[in-house]
Symmetry: C2
Subunit: 218 residues, 2 copies
Amino acid sequence: MNDKDLKEMFKKITDIEVENVELLKESLTHRSKGESRSYERLEFLGDSILSFLTSEHLYRKLKELNEGELSKKRSEIVNRENLSYIFSKLHFDEIIFVDRKSLKSIPDSIKEDIIESVFGAIYIEKGIRGAKKFFKLVLKNSKDMPDDFYAKNRLQELSLSKYKKLPEFKTEVYREDRFKCEVYLDGKYYSQSFGRSKKESEKKAAKLAIKKIEKENL
Amino acid sequence: MNDKDLKEMFKKITDIEVENVELLKESLTHRSKGESRSYERLEFLGDSILSFLTSEHLYRKLKELNEGELSKKRSEIVNRENLSYIFSKLHFDEIIFVDRKSLKSIPDSIKEDIIESVFGAIYIEKGIRGAKKFFKLVLKNSKDMPDDFYAKNRLQELSLSKYKKLPEFKTEVYREDRFKCEVYLDGKYYSQSFGRSKKESEKKAAKLAIKKIEKENL
């Protein structure tokens, strides 16, 4: 791939126009390629940028969460599974430089690293504003985003403003590997849902409860 | 302490003039005080800002280090011992809000937390530029800063430019709990020093070698 094509494809994916193609290439190059520069140092930098931007986003957005809950939320965004999911969803595999002979399929660890190193390259060229633009894209393409991610918190806010009480989640194992969650607001049953994990069942039930409240409020 | 005094003392310590005294107070308040707000959420945010600013500083300053070495360097700055040292050196104990009855002396964990939460408060009011100003102060007041911190790296650069070779550190245990380090450049003996840890002896020997090279170059 020549420089012009790379810039264009990167622009198509991220809507960011880079000038410094060498730095961009470095952020997309795995050491298996045997080039003089690969993404590791940029990943060191980008990892800390992503963590900072995620922390700021959650700090501002979820005002009622304490630091432990914020940490948990952060790890729902900044984790290997989610970042490699974003990598694939945005088709980063089409613009990276790896030795395809030794790496037949790209492991999730490399996908995660590259999303982080791209944060580093964008930050070096475009500063914090550029990094924030890429962060918005990452957030938008995160798993569960935005409905499921914020569902429990939105329901909390709604319940507090309506009843001055937190919602109640009654969650139990339901047959083999299924969980069932029922949501109560002010002691009154609102919704129920099922999921393969406790968290999944709670998020889904919270979403249903939110819909019901929104209808009530119409 | 009233708001005016707090603002003045904070300005004296950091050379930063804050407007939002409530937020500043929150960042300086330990939960033992029983106030409605204490520093935990700001610490969640500030911790990630400090880590980001440290990563950026090292990424730009130490171009020849790989990501593992950069991580090690980062942890020399961002660790409990150093941050609590900075807290005391800058006299933050004079402006914090803790319950002095239950906390007769301030544990290092709280000192560390408060340096981080202050990063959060400054960032929220002043943005990344304000946080960078505070970071410079933190860096300047770090243990070993700047001479010892960069000594081995500076010696590497000097040796590479003079001899196209890395310096050689011969470090050994010297009596009970002492280490001895000798530095060789291009096979030639340059300096030796002693320390209570391997790292300390190497840093001190590197500093002496740098002085010798600088004299040679006069």
